[in-house]
């Protein structure tokens, strides 16, 4: 189709709306002090902690999200629709609400917290709490993108494999997963990005301590109080990381769409 000209105009306005704030922020960066600002001890600690916890959260998202997407895409059972909406809830929930819910689950006086306490596991104020919060908010991203890919790919190859005598696990390992691998990767990258930006649930549930629970967004929030220059510099770092991640996700996501089209 030929896109009408006025669509370009509105699309351009939309793009400016998204990009202008980023430009405005970049203009406020104190470039002469940029490197010292982002390489201070607390900044580096926050960045490393963010990368570490986001990687762990992404691994958990893959471990739990892939089976969840498979169940949602390949099976049919009573209440599945309701279950899907509930599983995707963290997508629309304000992160603070997620943090409060996690607190009442894993907190010292929470539903599971007391059991963990008896086992000698303390979750509150630990790096584990950060990973839990990040996994909670990032999991739907992987489930959602993978479930869509599974549905687009369809189950014809899987059916053929099964008639040739392959066990369900063999079908999963040899046919389904290789087919949707690009979607798993792009879903994982999106989950990583979401985990990296996690703020509200972490602040509510995990607390804020340098090197243990103070991730990059929390460090930015704190520095904003006294040192706006550092806050802006670190924000720019986070934006750059996010841009790299989003472009990565796009690149890995492309082949899956192309392959899906070829298959359908």
């Amino acid at each position: 189709m030929t896109v009408p000209r006025w669509v370009f105009a509105v699309a351009g306005l939309g793009a400016v709306f998204v990009l202008l704030p980023l430009v405005a922020m970049a203009l406020r960066v104190n470039w002469t002090e940029f490197v010292p600002l982002i390489s201070s001890e607390s900044s580096v600690a926050a960045l490393l902690l963010s990368l570490r916890t986001s990687l762990a959260a992404t691994a958990l998202c893959v471990v739990f999200g892939v089976p969840m997407a498979l169940v949602l895409a390949r099976t049919d059972f009573w209440g599945q629709k309701v279950l899907r909406s509930l599983v995707l809830l963290p997508l629309v929930l304000p992160p603070v609400v997620g943090g409060i819910a996690l607190l009442y689950t894993f907190g010292r006086r929470g539903l599971l917290g007391q059991t963990f306490g008896l086992l000698g596991i303390e979750i509150a104020f630990s790096t584990t709490a950060v990973v839990i919060a990040q996994t909670f908010v990032a999991l739907p991203f992987l489930v959602l993108s993978l479930e869509g890919a599974l549905r687009t790919v369809g189950s014809r190859y899987e059916a053929v494999g099964a008639t040739l005598g392959a066990s369900p696990t063999t079908v999963l390992r040899r046919i389904t997963l290789p087919l949707v691998l690009p979607a798993v990767l792009s879903g994982a990258v999106l989950s990583f990005a979401r985990a990296l930006g996690e703020f509200g649930a972490t602040l509510t549930f995990a607390g804020s301590l340098q090197g243990t629970t103070r991730t990059l967004p929390l460090e930015i929030y704190l520095q904003r109080e006294t040192d706006p220059d550092t806050a802006v510099a670190l924000s720019l770092v986070l934006v750059v990381v996010a841009v790299v991640i989003v472009s990565l996700a796009h690149r890995t996501g492309e082949p899956s769409r192309r392959r899906a089209r070829a298959l359908s």
Partner: protein, 259 residues
């Protein structure tokens, strides 16, 4: 030495001389000319309870005026005002943030100190960790939550620790006193360092434990009208009201000290 009180407000009122108007109900400002207009008051988060009450009684005493309140951390509020937010009055929880406003030439006249606040130890009801004073907070089994040194309540925590000669190692350093209180009321932390007024406002959700070294870090609250107000006379009247006897009565009742 230390004393557990359910509401520190009571303890704080004792020994403080209430000025002229001793009644808890604030009296009208007494300005002869009728005031009219809307003002927006940017006030520190810790003033939420008292300023909500004061704004209502100010409006009642001055029909035709409307006071819109905006509460947040003092630092965030100053940043917003400097960036052009439409504030008519600014009430800060510390003098440093007020200095940022006056340095930007946005204060209409000299700021007036109208209240003080000191730190106290907040513990969950029943005090499960058996905290009695500041040195108990250094025990390895006590999970202490405080503010980060970057924010006023955290700076105050460092000062009191230094004057007591102890080193605090909190399990979490929060950005606001509200977050510290939340960790205590939810039972996640065994103790938190917050302001006496926070404990008073939290009611039965926490218990407060006074300690002598708190006096080494007294936080002063200044207030000033912001320049360029469309209702400068109302803004000035509100500042006079808060710094006057009526304001003092409400603030003292909430646990604030006299400036």
């Amino acid at each position: 030495m230390a004393r557990v009180t359910r509401s520190l407000a009571t303890a704080f009122v004792i020994g403080l001389t209430l000025t002229g108007c001793g009644s808890a109900t604030p009296s009208p400002t007494g300005s002869a000319a009728a005031l009219g207009g809307d003002i927006t008051v940017y006030a520190a988060a810790s003033l939420q309870g008292t300023f909500t009450e004061l704004a209502a009684s100010f409006e009642a005493a001055n029909p035709g005026t409307t006071v819109v309140l905006n509460f947040a951390g003092s630092s965030a509020l100053v940043t917003q005002i400097i960036e052009g937010a439409p504030a008519d009055v600014f009430a800060s929880a510390d003098t440093d943030n007020m200095a940022r406003l006056t340095d930007a030439a946005l204060g209409d006249g000299e700021p007036v100190d109208f209240a003080t606040n000191v730190l106290t130890i907040a513990v969950p009801p029943g005090n499960p960790a058996g905290i009695t004073d500041l040195t108990d907070l250094t025990r390895p089994d006590v999970r202490l939550v405080a503010c980060a040194p970057e924010v006023p309540c955290g700076a105050a925590a460092e000062t009191v620790a230094a004057s007591a000669g102890v080193t605090l190692s909190p399990v979490s350093e929060e950005s606001s006193v509200t977050d510290v209180l939340g960790k205590v009321t939810s039972g996640e932390a065994d103790a938190g360092l917050v302001y006496v007024t926070d404990v008073a406002a939290a009611g039965a959700a926490v218990e407060g434990i006074e300690f002598a070294e708190a006096a080494s870090a007294v936080n002063t609250y200044p207030i000033v009208p912001v320049t360029g107000s469309a209702s400068a006379d109302v803004a000035r009247a509100f500042v006079d009201y808060v710094t006057g006897s009526g304001g003092a009565a409400v603030l003292r009742a909430a646990g604030f000290g006299a400036a």
